[in-house]
Structures are given as C-alpha cells and as structure tokens.
C-alpha cells in the first residue's frame, strides 16, 4: 500500500497546474459558471462549446481525461491511479476548467462501445460522446418493465434494411436534449425473456419518435416518456449480436452503478455542508458549534471517508485486473445513502429556513441543499431501486439464494 502524495505526485500536480495556466485563461474562467454551485452538484454545469472542446482535446491528449478509454477512440488511455485522478479533479475544479462530462454517454455508452461496438460505431460515436458533442439518453425502463427490466416489450421487427420499432420508454433522463438513444428492444419475441433483447442505437430525429417531458419531484423536467411509432432504425445500428442486448447492457449498467456510486458527488455536497454549517447562524451561534450537529457531521464523514477510500481500492483493483467483489457491488447503495443523509442534515441545520425552495436567496447557500436533498431520491433510484440493489448485494455479493422470480 502506498498512498502518500510523494514527490512524484507533487510533480504531477505542478504539471497539471502549468497545463491549466497555459490552456485555460482568466477570461475562460470568468466565462465559466462556478463549479461549486448547484449545477456542479447535479452535473449540469457543463460547457461543450468550441472553446471547451478545443481545451478538452488538449487535456485528453495529455492523458488528463477519460483515462480509461483508449487513445485510438479519443480517450486519454492511462493506467488507473486514484491519486492522480483526485489531483486532476481538484485542479480542474479550482481552475473552473471543463473536465470529463458526467453523463450516460461518456460514462456508460462509450465504455460499452469500446468493448462491444463495431469499428465503425467506435469511430462514429466515441470521441464525439466524450467531448459532449453527441448527447445520449438511455432507453431501458418501460411502464411495465422497471425493476424487472428484462420483461420489456418495445418491439423491433426487421424489415429489409431496417428495424421497425414500436413501443414506449419511460423515465428517460435528458431525452429532450439527446441526439441519440441507446436502447433495449425486444427483437426475438419467442426467445426466453433475457435472450430476446437487442441493444440498439437510435437517432432521436428519426420520424415517428416523440419525446414527452415528465415533471419530477424537484419540479424540473429532466426525464421523459419516449414513444416509438414505426420508427425505422438502420439494420447495422445494433451493438453486439442480435438477441444478446441484455448481456451487452449488463456492462453498461455496471458503468452506471460506478457513475452513481462515485463518492465525488457526496464529497462535494459534504464540503458544502461543512461550509454552510460554519457560516449559518441559528439561535445566535454558528450551526457548527452545536454539539449534536458536530457529532452527526463527523459520523457522516466516517461513511464518506469509507466511500472515498473504497473508491481508491476499486480503482487499484481495476488496475490490477482483479474483481473487487463486495466492495464494488455495494458502492451505489452506500454513496446514495450518504447523499441522502447529507441532504437531510443540511435541511435540519437551516432550522426554520429549511423550508425555503432552491434558488430562494433568503435560504442559506441559496437553498442549494434543498435541490441536493431532492436529487438524492432520484440518484438512489437511477440504475436500479435500492431494494433491487439489496437483492444484488445479497445474491451476488453474499451468495444468498435468489428470491422466487420468473
């Protein structure tokens, strides 16, 4: 075990700082939204304009971003190194420079294409996705296929050179802005349910495809219903073999759990919470001086540190080519639970003003914790509801028998 920021890492930090100073100017910084704000917490503060793209290309060439994606397809291609990853995240945030795009395209689709895609698909999609120029949504859930995803019914029938797709997807995050969808479509209705599904890439501009926004608990509308009415998808737009989509999607889902399970979100909100507790007064004293809140903050920090170090362990295990087992399977449930508790503690710390809505300037930190609190409900559900996670942990992690299910 070697975890210290040794001279090698201090040198790396200096290199990163110098790169940022040379390539992301004061003017660039001024034109970029504050990375500590609400947007950052929800993953929305992203620049994908030409200037940001030019910068990202340089950073990728240096191996500073998308380190897990081969250079051939537009990634940084570096061995996993949690300390370097931490240094990069810190320094890019401090410089308000564009960093990796957190979203389903870069985090889920790109790694899946690298493994399962055709050469043409990799060339067409991966780099553009990493740069945020091709935006994706995920077409998995259906009204009657949520936790039991494999019972999905949106049909694809091969007619000549095209799949003709009919059906409906739901809870499709960011479909309103997406250029493409990666979707699971039933193409072999007579096969056993897991073996009749194909992984398909669908252009959102295809005639017959309709997006209808759904308003979520937060009051915003980031997710949608998507309807398919004789949508014609070119025959070669499938990833992996016909009927093998379920298994292709498993690798994507694992990437999503890693994305949602990443402790970075929780760390960012925890640091914000700490700051708020120092600068918010309740009953004439800073909240941070309240012994109960101090106790709860440190208790939460224990969970957060465990999540962060566990993240380092997973990266190291990945680099060694080891399957981390249980420590990998639990991360999503672990970190989203921490997130929920951070949000809840924040609401309590604001005392009466905890009832003010996000964006209300009279609330501490402009109510951003209200948004965080609400967001964590969604994050706990994305990629599999908590009780589904618990089944996976018990069955795959602890080796307990499966529940009765068909």
């Amino acid at each position: 075990m070697n975890l210290s920021f040794s001279a090698e890492y201090e040198k790396f930090r200096e290199e990163v700082r110098q790169f940022l100073a040379e390539n992301w100017t004061e003017a660039d910084r001024a034109a970029t939204p504050d990375a500590e704000g609400v947007g950052a917490m929800t993953g929305a503060a992203l620049r994908t304009d030409d200037r940001a793209t030019e910068f990202r290309r340089k950073a990728i060439a240096r191996g500073y971003m998308y380190r897990h994606i081969p250079k051939l397809y537009g990634g940084g291609e570096q061995p996993p190194d949690p300390l370097k990853a931490t240094i990069l995240a810190d320094e890019f945030r401090r410089a308000r420079a564009p960093f990796e795009i957190m979203g389903q395209g870069p985090s889920m689709l790109a790694p899946t294409l690298v493994v399962h895609g055709t050469e043409a698909q990799k060339q067409q999609f991966v780099e553009g996705t990493l740069l945020g120029r091709i935006r994706w949504c995920q077409g998995y859930s259906e009204p009657n296929a949520g936790s039991d995803l494999a019972s999905l019914r949106t049909r694809g029938v091969l007619e000549g050179d095209h799949w003709v797709v009919n059906g409906q997807k739901i809870w499709t995050s960011n479909a309103q802005d997406a250029d493409w969808m990666f979707a699971l479509i039933r193409t072999e209705p007579d096969a056993p349910k897991h073996d009749g599904i194909t992984y398909m890439l669908i252009d959102m501009k295809t005639p017959g495809l309709t997006v209808r926004p759904l308003r979520q608990l937060t009051g915003d509308a980031d997710f949608n219903e998507v309807f398919f009415d004789n949508v014609r998808v070119p025959k070669d737009s499938i990833v992996g073999e016909r009927g093998r989509g379920w298994y292709v999607s498993r690798s994507t889902l694992k990437n999503e759990r890693a994305l949602i399970g990443n402790a970075t979100f929780a760390r960012r909100t925890f640091d914000g919470l700490q700051m708020m507790a120092q600068f918010t007064e309740v009953r004439g004293a800073p909240v941070i001086k309240d012994p109960v809140f101090r106790d709860k903050l440190v208790e939460l920090e224990g969970h957060l540190l465990a999540a962060e170090y566990n993240g380092h362990r997973l990266l190291t295990a990945g680099g060694r080519g080891e399957d981390p087992g249980l420590p990998g399977i639990v991360t999503k449930l672990h970190t989203t639970t921490i997130g929920y508790h951070i949000g809840k503690l924040a609401m309590d710390m604001m005392s009466d003003r905890g009832c003010l809505a996000p964006g209300e300037q009279n609330a501490p930190a402009a109510g951003m914790f209200g948004t965080g609190y609400m967001w964590y409900f969604g994050m706990a559900l994305g990629g599999g509801a908590p009780n589904i996670q618990r089944n996976v942990i018990a069955e795959r992690g602890l080796g307990l028998p499966r529940d009765p299910r068909r």
């Binding site: 075990m1 070697n2 975890l3 210290s4 890492y9 190194d81 949690p82 300390l83 370097k84 700490q274 507790a277 120092q278 941070i288 001086k289 012994p291 101090r294 106790d295 903050l297 440190v298 208790e299 920090e301 224990g302 969970h303 540190l305 465990a306 999540a307 170090y309 566990n310 380092h312 362990r313 990266l315 190291t316 295990a317 060694r320 249980l326 420590p327 399977i329 639990v330 991360t331 449930l333 672990h334 639970t337 009780n387 996670q389 618990r390 089944n391 942990i393 018990a394 069955e395 992690g397 602890l398 080796g399 307990l400 028998p401 499966r402 529940d403 009765p404």
Partner: protein
Amino acid sequence: MDFGLSEDQVLLKDTIHRWLDVECPTTRVRAIMESDDGHDVALWKGLAELGVTALGVPQEHGGAGLDLLEVALAAQELGWNCTPGPFLGSQMAVTALVESGDEAHAKRWLPAVAAGDAVLTFALGEGLGEHDLAKLATRADGGKLTGEKPLVPYAQVADAIVVAAHDAEGPGLWLVERGAPGATFTTLSGIDMTRRLAMARFDGTPATKLCGGTKVIERARDAGLILLAFDCYGGASRCLDMTVGYAKTREQFGHVIGEFQGVKHQLADLATDLAPSESLCWYTAHAFDHVRDKAERHAAIAKAHMTDLFDRVTRYAIELHGGIGFTWEYDLQLWWRRAVFDRAFLGEARYLRARAADLAGW
C-alpha cells in the same frame, strides 16, 4: 499509487488467520475466558513463534520493524477469531516505547516482547470519560508514582505497565515493573471476557520515566484506537459471515431463510456499510506511519465508525439467528461482548467524534 494490501500483507493476514483457525477454536476461546487470568501463555507463545508479537518491534530490537498497518492486520485476525489475551495493551506499550525514542527502555523490554517472553500493558484513562491528558490525576515525584487507573488491560499478567501520569513538567509516561512495591491490582468483571481488566493503584510505586511527553501518549492512544477499529472490522466480518452461513442452511416455511427478502435486505445493508469500512481502516493505519498530519483525526473517526458498525452487525446477527443467537452456547455472544469492549474502551463514539470536530477546527 496503490490502494490495496501487498502480497506480503495478504500472506501475513492469511497465515495468522489459518493458524488461529486451527489453534484457537471457540472451545479454546471459552476455556481461556473461564480461566482465572484470561491469559493462555501457550497460545501467546504460539503467536510469538508465528511472529505476531514482533511485527511492530524495530529490527534493532529483535522485531520485524513493520508498520502499524501490519500490526493492525494481526488485530483484525484476532478480532475475527475472538482471541483472548493482552495484545491490545501490549501493542500500545510497544508503540509508546518506540515513539519515545527511549533507547534504554526499548533495549530492556522490546526484544523480550518480540520473543513472547514479556507482556506489557498500557494504563491511560482514569475513568468517568475524562481523556484530557492535562487532567490526569496520577502523579510522579522523585521516581515514585501515586494514583489510580481504573481500567488497565491485563495488569496482573503484564511484566511491565506503561503508565500515563504527570510530574512537574507535565504529562509523561512512566514504566512500572511487575512486583514493584505499592502497586496493587483489583480484578474487575467485564462484559467482554476475552480482554481482562483490572483497577491498578500506585502508592509511592517506583517507576522510571520514559522520554517524550504528551505526543508519545497520544501516539500510543491513537495506535490503540486503530487496533480497536481493526478488531471491530474482523469481528463484524465474522458475525456477518456466520449469519450469512446460517441464513443459507436454516429452513422455515419450507425455504432456507436466506431466500426471504426481509433477511436478505438486512444482511445486504450490513454488508453495504461494512465492505467500504475496510478501506477506511487501511487508510487510517497507513496514515499513522506515513500521513501523520491526518493520523490523529482519522484514528478517532475510524474507531467511532467501526464500533458503531460492530455493534450494529452483532445486534442484527443475533436477531437473524433467533433464539439460538441469545444462548450462551452459541458463539455469537462472544463477539457481541467483544463489541461492547471495543466501543467503550479509550472513549465512546460521541467523545471521539467531538474530538474529531475540534481537530477539524470546526
């Protein structure tokens, strides 16, 4: 950068694990528990032959010269096994001797500890939850120690006790040898019978002063907190393992109970907190030797965190076992008792978290 155990560390852990599995089954744990002094000399000698008592002792004093992480991995295995004995206090005293830089004392005691010929212990707290070193009431004056230490692990077994006390210069450490006049010990009955406690009274007892002051006491205390955290991880992992095993075989309503989601989800929740906590323990032990500015706060946070978890895991383990889990014969009670000691000794979670908040400057 490398966040994981090295091959050597894994080998060390596995070796201790397998040895304890064979040499110290719970029948032996119970026999030691029910013995007068709770210390099995043959077992201790065996651990010494395995190298366990030498891990943290510097090479120039006959030890392996390894970091606290290696010592802590041994503590984890002792926790998994519920091994009775004076390991914790002895290691805290070793840390004090090493950190003090006191060559004379180190030379006199460390080779004997490494070889398993001597057992040390550490006397710190004075009861009533007071852990402020400035408030220690035990006094040293002219090489004589006077005061009362109400919770000393294995005081009657130890060949020497390292005692935290005050003299005119402030807090420091003194060493009292076995049989020193004016030292009396009262056996206490504790919930955890695998870690014995005594009240020690010193009345003008001859003692020699170690080099170093407050900082050395704090380092020994932090080593103790970290070893307790690893003991919790080992013990909690064992209880979870036992309960998962039970859930796979126990049948009710015509099914093994591990098929029921109520059972599964409770076990999954425990695993969800326990699995990542191992990394917190690793980092904390690593910090003790290599990231010193983070060590004290991490030790407090990790001990609080792990004792919460150990308590929770033992509670649900007993609950999920049903009536059998509440019997004397069934082994779960051994770990529940151990969890009680781990939680209380060197300060409860609330106190440790308050200290961590202070250390953060909040």
